[in-house]
Amino acid sequence: MKTSYVKFLKILIAIAYYGLIIVLIIVGAALIFNYFEPQRTIQISMDIPVQLNKSVSFQENGWAGSVTSSGYSSLSIHLLDSTMTQQNTLIYGAIGLIILLTLSLTIWLLYQIKQLLRTVGTPAVFSGENVVRIRTIGGLLIALELAKPLWWWIIGHNVLGVLTKHRINYSNAQISSGDSNLLFAGLLIIGLAEVFRSGYQLKQEQELTI
């Protein structure tokens, strides 16, 4: 039995899934293009676990930046000079890789949800494949949460160096334990997978009850 709510959800997930694939391709192309020909219209924005008192703008040779703040701060970078990207290939590559990795994990997550929703309303909803899919969804949520400290571990000292160089005062520069929403959601989903596994076992028993 497929309700209109499920159909609506399937359409929504499909739009998000295919839309994100297009975004991934565009972002990947933009990152590569921006490496060789930096464009003012292309801006790399990232949330950094740094707390500031006020917004600050600054410019260096080859690039300009601004930092605004709440609990997290938003760091935006326009690359002005191609030599800047080529002199800092590793950092540029690391930032680009993390952006693409996060997008890829999200696309994989949406794919698992899409496949799961296909089985809703059919006998295959309680199946071994769906148990694996739900565990994967939980694992991906945890992986997305772990991407934040990984990314900060890679570029954090560079970012703090820039802030110090431009005398931008900050009071807190670490990822707090309160930022674990995806972690808890992932653990909850993995727990839900066990419920599905029990349902699958009951279904198998029912099928073999004459």
């Binding site: 198998q204 028993e205 073999l208 009850t209 004459i210």
Partner: protein, 77 residues
Amino acid sequence: MPIIVNVDVMMARRKMSLTELAEKVDLTLANLSILKTGKAKAVRFSTLEALCQALDCQPGDVLEYVPDQQTTSAVLP
């Protein structure tokens, strides 16, 4: 599994085919085959009642308990 279903023994005694028995107890051939080959996890009382009626026997004639060790030794030559 310790519980053995001796449906084929009773079918042979009553000279009844699988198809005939399936029609009498209102089961599919597939389900009856699952029962006969010991793959069933459970049997409903209604099914057991229908089998006993069709084969004119007692539940003990159709179901047999063999503890696991004896089952293993029965299988090995």
